[in-house]
């Protein structure tokens, strides 16, 4: 565990001392570029790597940082120590303005909106007289060699400042990666709907990653302006900056802490030296190369250089004290608690098809309610209406008096409704353990809290116990995508119940699973029910339904036909006719 950290400390120490040994001005200049573009790439990594929202417009944030700092200094004499943070705040605000409308939509929109943003920003600055238009801004030289203004006439101080910016960006990403935030952002990248249903406010997390990313990029841009002493839209807002940032992160390995750090010297030094050899701005050969590299990485090595160097090392987990509670076989007892979920007059039509027609349903606390009926009866649509994935045309639903219709899925989850999906939805690239911890309670969880802290030990122990009782403990380090289909179903059940929601909706938990595991799932549902959880289960396997349910509601053609004890419903002549066609 300590070896990577020691290595990182050694490399950092070596880099800090390097200017004492090497005074070659061209090399130091190249290294300043490595650090600054590495920092911008690291910032991009937050939103483009972890959250999977690909931005092609980071040049705009880089430029905003550079311009704000340069403008405040040259026109108002304000110190960059102040200007840098103003630039970061402006860049973050602009990024949120772009992210807010586009994060609702598929990721193409965000990618293209950022591309548009960079283009708009460049054109605007090119024509904006107040910031020098096409002439740009010169930084006043009289402030040089004063720490208060972060400007010098030799290279080493810039070298150290730039290194500091890279360390800052890497530190932020490291913090995100280590704590809950990294897990949530990855979950958002892999399956947004599933993340929402666990109560993770996905859009807020995307905006958080975006704002933080833009702010850090602006810091790098500001230091760049202080270094080159002259900025115009061509050197701080060009689309090649957006490209460079993406290439560094992509080649190094996006979605990892060290990828961009590794990619930066590789890409930026190549860029700087080819430019020197070919003279001036070159023929664009380096950008053809970068374009090719991006294509090749996307085809063959999505994890970049990091993927070539290291296989993922599982993180050590805290030792869990005490064996898991073995769920006992509890026969379904008559549960007649007060209603916990009340559904009234639910209606949903898709075009001319009335999938759900005036459904009313009452789920009592502590019961397992089966929801059965032929395919197309509207069962899953009812779940979709309840959990916010589909907006019903009419109707009400309340969980312990809290109305949930019209709320986005994560708010429904906060109200105490959990759900599994018919086609199992786990986060395939996250470990089983990380998947499970996505199922903790997210209501009232602050963004910074989740960025700076891990799940408390007591909760981790509880999660460990749950995992043991689900027989998944030994698999906890494996990516969930490697589990069998049945095990993934078990995992998604564990994720749904970890936070002990008021009602758990299960959509065909036994479908496509081998008979042994069907028994196991039935046993788990009964045990969880005995511990106080309420379930609504959609299922076609009648034997399974008979075994675990206290009551059964029968749906057909969008209506609830009858509700009653399982044996009553099974014998009901209407059910026989509608279900079995007898």
């Amino acid at each position: 565990m300590n070896r990577p950290r020691t290595l990182a400390a050694l490399v950092l120490g070596g880099l800090v001392l390097l200017p004492a040994a090497v005074q070659d001005s061209f090399f130091l200049n190249a290294m300043v570029h490595v650090f600054l573009f590495g920092a911008a790439a690291q910032a991009w990594n937050l939103v483009g790597g972890y959250a999977g929202q690909i931005s092609f417009g980071h040049a705009a944030f880089f430029g905003i940082g550079a311009y704000t700092t340069a403008w405040l200094l040259s026109r108002h004499g304000l110190s960059p120590w102040f200007g840098i943070w103003v630039g970061a705040a402006v860049a973050a605000a602009v990024s949120l303005a772009v992210g807010y409308p586009t994060f609702r939509l598929r990721r193409h929109f965000f990618a293209l909106a950022t591309l548009a943003l960079a283009e708009i920003a460049r054109i605007s600055f090119l024509n904006w007289e107040a910031v020098g238009a096409a002439i740009g801004l010169y930084l006043p030289l009289e402030y040089r060699n004063r720490l208060a203004y972060l400007m010098w006439d030799s290279k080493p101080p810039y070298y150290w400042t730039a290194l500091g910016v890279l360390a800052l960006a890497t530190g932020v990403v490291w913090g995100v990666d280590r704590h809950r935030a990294g897990r949530y952002l990855r979950a958002v990248e892999q399956d947004e709907d599933a993340a929402e249903m666990l109560g993770i406010p996905t859009r807020r997390w995307k905006l958080f990653a975006m704002g933080l990313s833009a702010a850090l990029t602006a810091v790098a841009g500001a230091v760049y302006a202080l270094y080159v002493l002259y900025i115009d839209p061509y050197n701080v807002m060009a689309s090649r900056i957006s490209l460079l940032v993406v290439v560094v992160a992509l080649i190094g390995g996006r979605g990892t802490v060290w990828g961009p750090v590794l990619g930066a010297p590789f890409v930026v030094l190549l860029n700087e030296y080819t430019r020197a050899w070919l003279g001036g701005r070159g023929t664009g050969a380096d950008f053809i190369l970068f374009g090719l590299a991006v294509v090749l990485v996307s085809l063959y090595q999505p994890r970049g250089l990091i993927g070539l160097l290291a296989s993922p090392s599982p993180r050590p987990l805290p030792a869990v004290v005490g064996a898991g509670r073995d769920p006992q076989d509890v026969p379904p007892a008559g549960a007649g608690g007060p209603p916990v979920l009340q559904v009234r007059g639910m209606e949903k039509a898709f075009g001319g098809v009335r999938a759900v027609r005036g459904v009313g349903l009452e789920v009592r606390r502590g019961e397992v309610l089966g929801l059965v009926g032929p395919n197309g009866a509207g069962k899953s649509t009812l779940f979709d209406c309840l959990t916010g994935f589909v907006r019903p045309d009419a109707g009400q639903a309340a969980v312990d008096g809290i109305h949930v219709v019209g709320l986005p899925p994560h708010r429904v989850a906060w109200a105490g409704l959990a759900r599994t999906f018919q086609n199992v939805r786990v986060f395939p690239d996250l470990s089983v353990w990380d998947n499970l911890l996505c199922g903790t309670e997210h209501r009232g969880e602050g963004l910074w809290e989740a960025t700076l802290r891990e799940v408390p030990p007591a909760l981790q122990e509880e999660a460990g116990r749950l995992l043991r009782s689900f027989n998944l403990w030994d698999h906890r380090h494996r990516p969930a995508g490697e589990l069998s289909y049945g095990q993934q179903k078990l995992l998604s059940l564990a994720m749904a119940v970890l936070r002990r929601p008021r009602v758990v909706l299960l959509d065909e938990p036994a479908a496509g699973v081998n008979p042994v595991l069907v028994d196991e799932i039935g046993r788990l549902v009964r045990a969880l029910n005995a511990s106080g959880l309420t379930f609504v289960v959609i299922e076609h396997n009648m034997e399974f339904v008979m075994r675990i349910c206290h009551r059964v509601a029968f749906m057909a053609e969008g209506r609830v036909v009858t509700v009653g004890r399982p044996d009553e419903v099974r014998r009901d002549p209407r059910v026989l006719e509608l279900y079995y066609g007898r």
Partner: protein, 288 residues
Amino acid sequence: MTELVWQAAVSGVVLGLVYALVALGLSLIWGVMDVVNLAHAEYLMLAMYATYWLWALGRVDPALAVPVVVPVFFGLGWLTYQALVRRIVRAPLAAQIFATFGLLFVLRYGAFAAFGPNVYGVWRPGEGTVPVLGVPVAASKVTAGLVSLAAFGLLAAFLRYTKTGKALQAAAQNREVALALGIPVDRMYALSWGLGIATAALAGVFLIPFYQVSPTIGDAFLLLAFASVVLGGFGRVDGALVGGLCIGLLENLLGTLVSPTFKFLFVFAAFVAMLLVRPQGLLGDVGR
């Protein structure tokens, strides 16, 4: 003033038809295989270069370049699919986005290396104007607008009335079902790339008489085409047409009335507003 606005509106419509033609291919590929080709406008740029060099070196009139340029770019589109896009059809979304983004830079800087940063245009002295609704418009622009309308008509007829067109629609709607029915989905995808790139090239051929080419013109056209597709509603051919017309009108009217410098800013603002209010576009009816 009114006359100025009317002039702007008419030339906006003509311009909008050209944008629509650029957007057509983007929309087709997007609709058929759910891949947004970020390099789309780079093919437009290359077709403009091809037409320019045919004119500069061989004195071939742009209109006569169509039988050469368009089939070549159909082949290029087909090739792009076979060599690159085929491998990422079912890859994660990020891989798809990066693949065409990388392609964009290869093509753009390839053109930069080959032709340099200079701006080129076809200059034909003594070109006449045609009165359109009382406004004189350059003949080359009118031609481009008519070609665009013809291309839309032909493509719509192809999709609606031919067996291949119907197969293409089937492949777009449900890959698995289409495969099960024996439709060669892979070839349909390749065909959509061929057609999509060919229409971009067609736009390029008719743009060059009144629009100069340089390696970086792709940026603006990609964004305009994308905005057109989103504005009109994607997954349908007429969406690109309606969207393109709106963008052309918006750009010209606001460019004339307010300031030509910031005309793209208006287009972008309209685009963002559209995403907020009606993300399915003007003609779209399904959620996302």
